[in-house]
């Protein structure tokens, strides 16, 4: 396989991924029919409200779902099937070729170990570095992610760092072995805007420099808009809209995407204006409505919506929307934009 062939081949290819979880209310389909592929150097965003299955998707790529979870479909990394891979082999990939930045910087680090040890762990494991070598590399990594005075602080413990600093440390950890695929699960939700900015800068730099592929998960449309090339909007475990970021923001096709966009308070939208809300509440995974998962809350719902899960409709270049009423919704969208 030549270099050119390799870079053309998708790095990660997900086909019809489904995840069934055992919840306290019985089994629930947390992810359904999710497909995408990602080449080297590409970035993909995953948006959606809390509980829509973003993290579960990430976990299934990492092979870290609970034992009781049932995964269907296929996940291929460089053409090799990952679904059903034995744990020992998966361990060789995790932290090495695929790595992940977790949602909560406050709890993602082990409070009892020095940050140096924690960052060095993947190096020592996958690259079998010696302790001294790993330490040197760790300091370099911490310096790279902008942790001040890393040589002195490698031996400090997580609680001695601020939230932003901790998030940088988890990033250093995820990047230690220069993975091919980085999954960043809401890396900035817990942080305030100034620190959020710094972290996103940092990740973007690294993606550019090293040609990694990245999946960025967030429920903040602004973060997605600024940081990824392509995006997918999830609702109730299914992708309801996907496409290049610019394209999606220009012409939002799914009522849910539109609702999400409208509901956010916008800077400069003065007092007295009302926010447009999506009526109803996010359904429980265990009792999703039949058909389109959004049908219960959709202003455009018709009986056909409840009949079956709508197919993905192509509404623009590589832009798909899982809605049978795009004719109406996308017409209305024009009005919404000007509001």
């Amino acid at each position: 396989m030549t270099m050119a062939e390799r870079s053309d081949m998708p790095l990660i290819e997900v086909e019809n991924l489904g995840v069934r979880l055992n919840t306290s209310r019985g089994p629930a389909q947390a992810v359904r029919g999710l497909s995408f592929s990602l080449k080297r150097g590409e970035t993909l965003g995953l948006v959606g409200e809390s509980g829509c299955g973003k993290s579960v998707t990430a976990m299934s790529l990492m092979g870290l779902l609970p034992d009781s979870a049932v995964v269907s479909g296929s996940i291929k990394l460089d053409g090799h099937e990952l679904a059903g891979l034995p744990d020992a082999e998966y361990c060789r990939l995790r932290g090495n070729r695929i790595s992940m930045i977790f949602q909560e910087p406050m709890t993602a680090l082990n409070p009892m170990h020095t940050i140096g040890d924690q960052v060095a762990e993947p190096l020592r494991r996958h690259k079998t570095y010696s302790a001294a070598q790993a330490r040197r590399e760790t300091i370099a990594l911490l310096d790279r992610v902008g942790l001040p005075d890393p040589a002195r602080r490698v031996d400090a413990y997580p609680h001695q760092f601020s939230g932003g600093q901790r998030q940088r440390i988890t990033i250093a950890m995820a990047l230690a072995c220069e993975p091919d695929l980085l999954i960043a699960d809401e890396p900035t939700t817990a942080l305030d805007v100034t620190i959020q900015g710094q972290i996103l800068d940092l990740i973007a730099d690294l993606v550019e420099e090293r040609g990694m592929s990245m999946i960025l998960i967030s429920h903040d449309l602004g973060v997605i808009a600024e940081n990824v090339q392509r995006m997918m909007v999830m609702y109730g475990g299914a992708v309801v809209e996907s496409g290049p970021t610019d394209e999606v923001f220009r012409r939002m096709g799914h009522p849910y995407t539109q609702g999400l966009f409208r509901a956010r308070p916008k800077l400069g939208a003065r007092k007295g204006t009302r926010l447009q809300t999506i009526s109803g509440t996010v359904p429980e995974l265990a009792d999703l409505p039949a058909g389109c998962t959004f049908s219960d809350r959709c202003p455009l719902v018709i009986d056909a919506c409840r009949a079956a899960l709508p197919p993905m409709v192509e509404v623009g270049p590589r832009h798909g929307v899982r809605c049978i009423r795009t004719d109406v919704s996308m017409a209305e969208r024009v009005g919404a934009l000007t509001a």
């Binding site: 744990d87 060789r92 993602a108 950890m173």
Partner: protein, 316 residues
Amino acid sequence: MSVFVLRRLVTLLATLVGASLIIFLVLDALPGNAAQMLMGADASPDAVRALTIKLGLDQPLAVRYLQWIKGLLSGDLGNSYVYGTPVASLIGERLLLTVPLAIMAMAITVTLALSAGIYTAANHNKLGDVGVMSLTQIGIALPNFWFAILLVLLFSVRLQWLSAGGFAGWEDGIWLGFKSLLLPAISLAVVQAAILARVTRSAVLEVLREDFVRTARAKGLGRREVLWSHVLRNAMIPVMTVMGLQFANLLAGTIVIENVFYLPGLGRLIFQSIANRDLIVVRNCVMLLATMVVIVNFVVDVLYAFIDPRIKVHDL
């Protein structure tokens, strides 16, 4: 010196002063006295009176209390009424048994409990977990003195590997002393280990649910590696709390096992001394126990700070 330590020391002293008063008064309320006990049933009343005066038991309460405290402060614990020997050496001899026994029992407890606890947590809800946990259920339910006799039946009477009781002392070699404490240590440990194993298991399971475990897994660590390198130390805090309580209990609460194995431990000394109304021994023993338990608790608190970098000694 840290303010915390100072504060702890002050309260510790206050506790001990209060303790000494309570101990003294409670013991003084015991009916009967040492002179009567020493003289036996057929002694004449004036012989008993003579001994009472000789032992100084006729002095007023406050005088005796102050004498005791004065003695404590100057390191002189006085002489046992019964044995006539210095109380300090009497207690010292017993400590040579009680402390090693407590340590041995604790070592066995910790070994058993941690391995069982970790094993079951790692195999949560699997057959091994259920099996070992059922065993610990039974372990908790065993009265330890009863279990002790069963051990004796097996190892001393049937197999004759170990002696049925008694303490060989440390003079004739560590091994002999060790051997004679083995069965008592096991019978003390089994029940405790069952409790500690359960605590360990739930602590480990609790930590396994934490986010950083997932982080470690995401770095490519296998389940077992995560358990050993990340989970255990975090699970140690609740485990240590229980361990501290158990160790304190071993120092003070082994009378029953000492009885079964006729060991000259602190517990039996107290038991016998109360029966003999050798109150000077009892007071000092109980005082020592109180001090030791308070110190063990203190040590456990300091150990927390060693295990968990987030805790500094001063914010305990």
